[in-house]
């Protein structure tokens, strides 16, 4: 069983549209949406939820004002400035480290589990899918990503599937790290713009930091052919496999509006190119 993750560094480069198309093209796969703080894959996959569970990622401090003697030890030592002068803990600032709980001479601080989100197992026309919603503004997205990936792998093993396809998050921080560590292959989707290239390079550096095989795809390559050429040269000089180029095509947005992956709807410039990219990737992943 192989696990591949699609990331982009920059948001809006087409990562989720590609993930849905790959999911349609692959047979025998489980989908995992690891962009847990702004999950979009469900819009295209239209999952029917068959199982759901709460996700408790961590704890937060609460001070019992009846026990509190206003000594101020907690305020002084909390490194996140999470405790106000009124001894009320600001839960958006509290990291749940429990230092105040251990230091409080009145044992007034309790640590309580907080609900950070929910995760789901669903059936979709692309096969089973594991996804999650982080409660907006909550933390611990890295832990939730790890949980989603694990569940997807369990299902893949149970049902004898060959592949888990993971939609990663934008950026290079905690949820992204959590969605790529230990996978068999990472696909970076980029676009030929200054910020697209800048962010792709950082994403690439991250993937290499973890020594994971990687392929590059240039989306909307024809909006700025000269920049596309620069990316191709860069890829060659850095010895990175280019899995293909996909042209700009209105059909991508149009099919998104109709809740479909672009390859599902039929031939077209983007759809044909994505099919070519997928063939390349398959060879590489199973070589």
């Amino acid at each position: 069983m192989k696990e591949i993750t699609i990331i982009s560094g920059k948001g809006g480069a087409g990562k989720t549209s590609f993930t849905a198309s790959f999911a349609f093209l692959a047979k025998n796969r489980v989908l995992a949406d690891c962009d847990v703080d702004a999950a979009d894959l469900h819009i295209l996959a239209q999952p029917k939820i068959v199982h759901q569970e709460d996700f408790f990622g961590g704890k937060k401090a609460t001070i019992d004002l009846n026990k509190c003697s206003h000594c101020g030890v907690c305020i002084e030592n909390c490194r996140y400035g999470a405790i106000g002068q009124d001894f009320v803990v600001d839960h958006t600032a509290c990291e749940g480290c429990a230092l105040c709980h251990y230091l409080c001479p009145e044992t007034a601080v309790t640590m309580e589990e907080t609900l950070n989100g929910k995760w789901f197992i669903s059936e979709t026309r692309f096969g089973p899918m594991v996804h999650a919603n982080l409660i907006p503004g909550e933390e611990n997205s890295g832990k939730l990503v790890a949980l989603v990936r694990n569940q997807a792998k369990v299902i893949a093993e149970e049902r004898n599937m060959d592949m888990v396809i993971v939609d990663g998050a934008p950026g290079v921080g905690c949820p992204v790290i959590s969605s790529i560590t230990g996978v068999d292959h990472v696909v970076i989707v980029t676009e030929p713009t200054m910020s697209g290239v800048h962010d792709m390079k950082r994403a690439l550096e991250l993937v290499r930091h973890f020594n994971i095989p990687v392929s590059l795809v240039i989306n909307k390559w024809d909006i700025y052919p000269r920049m596309t050429m620069e990316i191709e040269e860069f890829a060659k000089s850095e010895n990175i496999q280019l899995a293909g180029k996909v042209p700009y095509d209105r059909a991508v947005t149009d099919t998104m509006v109709r809740r479909r992956a672009v390859v599902e709807v039929g031939p077209g410039p983007a759809a044909d190119a994505i099919i070519g990219v997928w063939d390349q990737l398959k060879q590489r992943i199973w070589q």
């Binding site: 560094g9 948001g11 979009d40 961590g58 290079v172 921080g173 949820p175």
Partner: protein, 217 residues
């Protein structure tokens, strides 16, 4: 006045809005790129960088000569970043949140704090606009402490523009906290709307007024 420019979905044109706002306000304003994972303001503003400082987080280093192997550190750490196993204590600095619990509560005073590099903060000028950006070290998972350090550079006598990271989780909250107004940039697609709703829900909880800009209509 502090205005944060955010967007649930990436690639909607958030940075274009933030930098344009800065360019219009000029001398009176300061722009801080809080999208420390993928800072992009510098691409559009091309600032001259004048200072560069490393930002770090204090993480534990154990002196085994003083350590009595009591296991207290592993018991108090909420992030499994330090454990006592057999005759030794192992720290996992990349999991550490730098809270100081283990060093402060160690009965043998065997734990010292050493810095873990989070990234850099660079400051400079883009024409007459004051510029600050954070850039996370590749491989570093925790953006919020670096974002807090970027925000420490806010000059209260300026009109402050914060370019927030995409999404709706802790890095966004860390950025927009304390802002007077949030501009949400979105695009008219199902992804754009879905991510806008999530981000608005996250920010609403902080009680900050929100305005929406729709790009590429």
């Amino acid at each position: 006045m502090i205005v944060a420019v955010a967007s649930g979905k990436g690639g909607t044109g958030k940075t274009t809005v933030a930098t344009s706002l800065g360019a219009v306000l000029g001398t009176r304003s300061q722009i801080l790129d809080c999208d420390v994972e993928e800072p992009n303001c510098h691409i559009l503003l091309k600032p001259t960088i004048l200072t560069s400082d490393t930002v770090s987080l204090p993480v534990p280093s154990v002196d085994l000569k003083k350590c009595s192997l009591c296991g207290k550190c592993g018991e108090v750490c909420q992030f499994s970043a330090i454990v006592q196993i057999g005759k030794t204590v192992i720290a996992f600095p990349e999991l550490c949140h730098g809270c100081g619990s283990c060093s402060m509560l160690c009965p043998d005073k065997a734990i010292e704090e050493v810095p873990r590099n989070l990234g850099v903060i660079e400051t400079g000028m883009a024409a007459n606009l004051e510029f600050v950006q954070g850039r996370i070290r590749i491989g570093e998972a925790m953006a919020p402490p670096l974002i807090r350090a970027v925000k420490n550079r806010i000059k209260s006598n300026k009109f402050v523009i914060l370019d927030a990271p995409p999404g709706a989780s802790c890095p966004v909250i860390t950025t927009v906290k304390g802002a007077d107004f949030v501009i949400m940039v979105t695009e008219p697609t199902p992804f754009g709307l879905n991510d806008l709703e999530i981000a608005v829900e996250a920010i609403e909880g902080l009680g900050i007024p929100i305005g929406v800009v729709i790009k590429q209509i």
